[in-house]
Symmetry: C2
Subunit: 370 residues, 2 copies
């Protein structure tokens, strides 16, 4: 996406008003001019005004801003995010619903999200959607083809779909995804869906940033689940067997029963919520209203018990501590001398010749002495 | 346990030979004398010699030494542990088997461990046992009473039972448990069982330090599992329904079938091993030989596929990186000024007023500036 295309329609007029970027002299080379405009387009005050008005371009630009690794962008991004956080009263913050949706490629995530999203829009909500795994595009959506992916939802003015950022590290994706959620909410999207493909560690990360975690299943016995990481089933608040239509319906019923039985053997969730196993066909729109009903029932139950607010507070606290630990590790692992020493120590440790704690202590000592 | 009681029988003779403690003048107050003797009893060379001979007192003292938080003790402990690591050839290291055993209080862990332990001893093994959760003593063993807990095993010369260290932080327990395993192996215990109670985070930690993770289940539907943390079932390499005798047998058969069906729905383990669900009564010694058989089959399968060595290498590598991260965090969180600032930031973050990344950055900056 080019910055030009994303620029706020009225960005030119208020330039220079209150922003450091605008304070620069407008004279100079074309490149300087372009950079100034670009910086202007990331002006926190303008972005915030746009977000408050639900302006799509502002949202797109804000999402792009928080994805940037450039130090100046990170600073601007945090100004925007802090303002978003401060403006939200507890009431509006908790009025939103963040849903994680996962399932193997081919389970029909896109169709399901589109179907659920349209129902939520018809019920008066505004829906934001983002994907965390870039891989989901490759294998997952290929059945329907990329062009028809959430076509109706993508065209609707009450929906905003953000494709997955192509990032290397999960940590980065996770952080930015959390920030994206805040921006979506600031722009008035009160339902935010985060799609993951169920093969990596993304699910654990996403589970730590949503209110409700929904697992889509294929009809048929467990063999189809080979792509799903162990432990994901137990994180689910809602399980939905998709593609329950035509020839698949009988198998879908069996799968539903199998999972109901299996889940009964697992310990209850902290809140006492019993994850239901539902069945639907998002293609022929069958069973989707029950999915929506259960989703809202889950949300209400969490609110009633106070678990909703508690979960969000805990997620914010975890994010802080994770960020601290990540920051400490980043400083350590970025040090070239440390990296060389670490490679040697690690080989010896893995071979069983050196005690891990001894190696760690030597490396930490070296790091502190720098 | 008093140091006096634990002292190596011949500790007096070689005092002063090579050890720093022994180099001190023996004249002085009784207390100085006692301290010198005590330090002498932690002499790495003596401890190692004792461990090599399979001396029980040396093992007990080495276990105590690595539990100590005193800096001088930590240094001595690492000397001992590094020597243990260096002496072990890859062959002998892999000849050992580390088993994690978990289950809710009342599932019969002690009886099970005693029964399995005696079978292993009869097959020529030497068996070390330790508990990780102090809580397991309180609620778990109370049915049989503490005195009869693993009575036969405790009295056997080929077994060594170490009660749980009473520690606050899990991190500490986990580290020390890993070190205890090394000491047990150095003293010739080729099977080491680590018992946890299944309610805390200990299981994940223990899973990261054993070769085989065994979950004990009660006969009856999932309701009894309320105490077990979600996710533990999926970590198990072996599941065993205990107390399958008398009136419970019918329910045990049902439970076994239920879990077999449920596990079928879960994705396979990385190694391709399918965790079997067994049934036994450790009280009347029924079905225990099948448990032993499957346990050894698991070990052999892991060795054949190379998973055994790989898992150990990965565990050692993880330990190193965990130790680095823990060390970095410890330095950060131990700082009084940081702790005060953190408390304020955390409150604001949890209330949703401050962006976690912003708060983290401020705190990290402050920490670096010290």
């Amino acid at each position: 996406m080019s910055e030009e295309k994303e620029r706020l329609p009225g960005a030119e007029q208020p330039a220079g008003a209150g922003s450091a970027a605008g304070a620069e002299q407008p004279s100079g080379a074309a490149q300087r001019d372009f950079l100034a405009r670009q910086r202007g387009s990331f002006d926190p005050a303008l972005l915030l005004a746009g977000l408050r008005n639900g302006d799509r371009n502002s949202l797109a630009r804000a999402l792009t801003l928080v994805e940037s690794d450039r130090l100046e962008h990170r600073k601007l991004a945090r100004q925007v995010l802090e303002a978003c956080l401060r403006e939200k009263t507890t009431a509006t913050a908790h009025a939103s619903l963040r849903i994680g949706i996962t399932g193997v490629p081919g389970v029909g995530k896109s169709t399901f999200i589109e179907s659920l999203g349209m129902m939520l829009i018809n019920a008066g909500h505004r829906v934001g959607v983002m994907a965390v795994d870039p891989s989901s595009e490759k294998s997952g959506g290929s059945i329907l083809g990329d062009k028809t992916r959430m076509e109706k939802l993508a065209a609707h003015e009450s929906a905003f779909i953000r494709p997955s950022p192509a990032r290397g590290t999960l940590g980065g994706v996770a952080d930015r995804t959390r920030e994206h959620i805040l921006l979506f909410e600031a722009a008035g999207y009160d339902v935010v869906m985060v799609e993951t493909v169920g093969v990596g560690q993304s699910e654990t990360a996403v589970h730590g940033m949503v209110d409700c975690f929904l697992l889509l299943l294929l009809p048929g016995a467990g063999d189809e689940l080979q792509g799903i990481k162990r432990g994901i089933v137990e994180m689910a608040d809602l399980l939905v067997v998709n593609k329950s239509d035509g020839d698949f319906e009988k198998r879908a019923v069996e799968t539903q029963r199998d999972y109901e039985r299996a889940l009964h053997l697992f310990p209850p969730t902290e809140s006492g919520w019993v994850p239901p196993v539902l069945r639907c066909s998002s293609t022929i729109q069958n069973g989707m209203s029950v999915v929506l009903e259960k989703l809202l029932a889950f949300r209400d139950a969490m609110h009633t018990g106070g678990h909703f607010a508690r979960r969000r507070q805990e997620q914010a606290g975890s994010w802080l501590h994770e960020a601290i630990r990540d920051g400490l590790s980043a400083g350590f692992y970025a040090n070239p001398a440390i990296r060389r020493a670490l490679a040697e120590e690690e080989t010896a440790v893995r071979a069983g010749n050196v005690h891990p704690l001894q190696a760690a202590e030597r490396l930490l000592e070296r790091f502190r002495e720098r």
